[in-house]
């Protein structure tokens, strides 16, 4: 008797396959707050559509779209040549926002006088040639160099601008972190850390420093992203297959609409218009 009831429940569960439309969005943790909030708002307006969101990084997002395990991908970098080959032009790459990749340091280092570093200095730190904050004008402490997992969008952008190649290795790395959240946590708990973060994650314990390029000191602010002077500015992308459902396309349009862009601004990124 019990078994029949149990079996009935499971069959019921199984049979309600796709009673509502389901959109699965995977990818960059930089784009995630925007898409997650937009999904909640969108769901209130379209209750029969389920949108699930997962992180994992830009690499995971692009790979998921290629493999078809996600309906929409999030990426905080451009697709590489290999990825474009696999995508075979079947996917639209839509920019929904722009932000700056800030070089972030711990509060203690900032307060000891390090407010700006040149590209060469940052590269030397990440290659292991500069090991102590003293050598760049800060306190006497060994630098905790936080690198990111190799497929993360933030790392691609950082590596390309600072180390010259998006797949460049950082031999001086002390620790490897994953998402933006994790990196923020490590920097805020340490007193000698340096890392790469989206500017929206900066706070009083995690300070962004200015980058010295050609003699000019440029802060990672939205204004400098807008006028294209900050060297580590990037677009935040959403990847939409051309064969996506109407609901998925509608959601992407929602992200580009006024409501969506208001969320972009609230999170701390630069809206597209």
């Amino acid at each position: 008797m019990l078994k029949t009831i149990l079996m009935g429940c499971v069959l019921l569960l199984a049979s309600t396959a796709h009673a509502s439309e389901h959109i699965h969005i995977v990818g960059s943790t930089t784009v995630l707050p925007v898409v997650s909030q937009a999904a909640t708002l969108y769901r209130q307006q379209h209750p029969n559509i389920t949108i699930t969101v997962s992180g994992g990084g830009s690499g995971v997002g692009i790979a998921s779209v290629i493999q078809g395990t996600a309906q929409i991908g999030m990426a905080s970098r451009n697709t590489t040549v290999e990825e474009q080959a696999k995508l075979e032009g079947k996917v639209d790459n839509i920019v929904i926002a722009a932000d700056a990749v800030a070089v972030a340091i711990s509060k203690a280092v900032y307060e000891s006088g390090v407010h700006a570093l040149s590209v060469q200095q940052i590269a030397d730190i990440y290659r292991g040639n500069i090991r102590n904050w003293q050598d760049v004008g800060g306190l006497d402490a060994r630098i905790v160099v936080i690198d990111k997992e190799a497929s993360r969008g933030t790392r691609h952008v950082f590596a390309e601008a600072i180390l010259g190649d998006k797949h460049a290795r950082a031999k001086g790395a002390s620790i490897i972190s994953g998402s933006n959240n994790e990196e923020q946590a490590i920097i805020s708990r340490s007193h000698a850390a340096i890392g790469m973060l989206s500017n929206a994650w900066l706070n009083h314990k995690v300070r962004g420093i200015a980058i010295i390029v050609d003699g000019k000191t440029i802060l990672p602010t939205i204004e400098h992203v807008r006028d294209n002077t900050y060297p580590l500015a990037r677009g935040l992308h959403v990847l939409l297959p051309k064969t996506a459902s109407a609901a998925a396309k509608d959601f992407v349009q929602f992200l580009l609409s006024q409501q969506g862009q208001a969320i972009v601004q609230e999170v701390g990124y630069l809206p597209v218009h």
């Binding site: 149990l6 499971v10 569960l13 199984a14 049979s15 309600t16 396959a17 796709h18 009673a19 509502s20 389901h22 699965h24 943790t29 995630l32 707050p33 997650s36 909030q37 999904a39 909640t40 769901r43 389920t50 949108i51 699930t52 969101v53 997962s54 992180g55 493999q67 395990t69 994953g178 998402s179 933006n180 959240n181 994790e182 923020q184 946590a185 490590i186 805020s188 708990r189 929206a200 994650w201 706070n203 314990k205 995690v206 609230e266 999170v267 701390g268």
Partner: protein, 272 residues
């Protein structure tokens, strides 16, 4: 000598209570009704965090239930084969095989499940994939419990019944199940506790970060307490995230303890 042993032993003996108390102590600020009734938006990152973990609790319990639903008939078949049809050598081989399966790390099952279920069979990230993987993980444990439960039944009863002409099926239903139901239940409860604690295998095969309150079908993803704790663990600087993580950990611990303590109690009741 005794003194040295006692000194060495004291940290070990105090640890369980210390851990449990610490977890609940840290969870106190967040242990209020909003855990269940609060908004279920879980937006992590630069903004605030939703408070309700009800979707996560239901997801974990659903996956555990479905895993047991898949594993129980199979484990029963294996135990029945061992009891009725297997010869001595086959029994040894079976036990060695079960031990081998129990030894394989769960993450390896997760990896295999990712290829076979999520990609090759195109189930996608789904409750079904997670449940099947969890079922395979708890299968050796459950099979062992069932085999031992059946082995405890006095041989004379079974022999007498068989010689009276009862079919094997009737022996099972009329004699074995009534005699060993508490042992079987103990094994089942322990397997449920185990299924609730596995995180790594379901992280990439069954769960998403947000968006699901109740899964539409067994082929849709779910969220679970275990993976929610993992996502929140990466938030070191958001105080609310930290409290919610500890509260989720306390809830998960409570659930696991319910099943384990029930099993323990049954075992004691069985002995007396």
């Amino acid at each position: 000598m005794k003194i040295i042993l006692i000194i060495l032993a004291i940290p070990a003996l105090l640890l369980p209570a210390a851990c449990v108390l610490y977890i609940f102590y840290q969870a106190l600020p967040a242990l209020n009704l909003s855990l269940i009734l609060g908004s279920d938006i879980a937006v992590v990152g630069v903004n605030s965090i939703g408070q309700s973990i009800l979707p996560q609790i239901t997801g974990s319990l659903l996956m555990m239930g479905l895993a047991c639903f898949f594993a129980l008939p199979i484990a029963l078949s294996i135990a029945l084969f061992h009891a009725f049809w297997a010869k001595k050598r086959q029994k040894k081989l079976l036990m060695a095989l079960l031990q081998m399966l129990q030894g394989i790390p769960p993450i390896v099952y997760g990896l295999c499940g990712l290829i076979v279920l999520v990609h090759t069979l195109q189930w996608g990230i789904s409750l079904a994939a997670g449940a099947v993987i969890l079922a395979i993980i708890i299968l050796p444990l459950l099979s062992n419990s069932l085999i031992h439960a059946f082995a405890r039944i006095p041989r004379e009863q079974t022999d007498a019944a068989l010689s009276l002409g009862l079919s094997k099926f009737r022996v099972l239903v009329r004699i074995w199940l009534p005699a060993s139901w508490s042992n079987i239940l103990t094994g089942l409860l322990l397997s449920m506790a185990r299924a609730l604690s596995e995180t790594a295998p379901i992280l990439f095969t069954a769960t998403v970060f947000s968006g699901i309150t109740w899964p539409d079908s067994i082929f849709s993803p779910v969220t679970s307490l275990q993976t929610h704790i993992f996502y929140l663990a990466q938030e070191g600087s958001n105080i609310q995230a930290i409290h919610t993580a500890w509260a989720s950990a306390a809830t998960l611990l409570l659930l696991v303890l319910c099943f384990s303590l029930a099993a323990w109690y049954l075992r004691r009741y069985n002995k007396t």
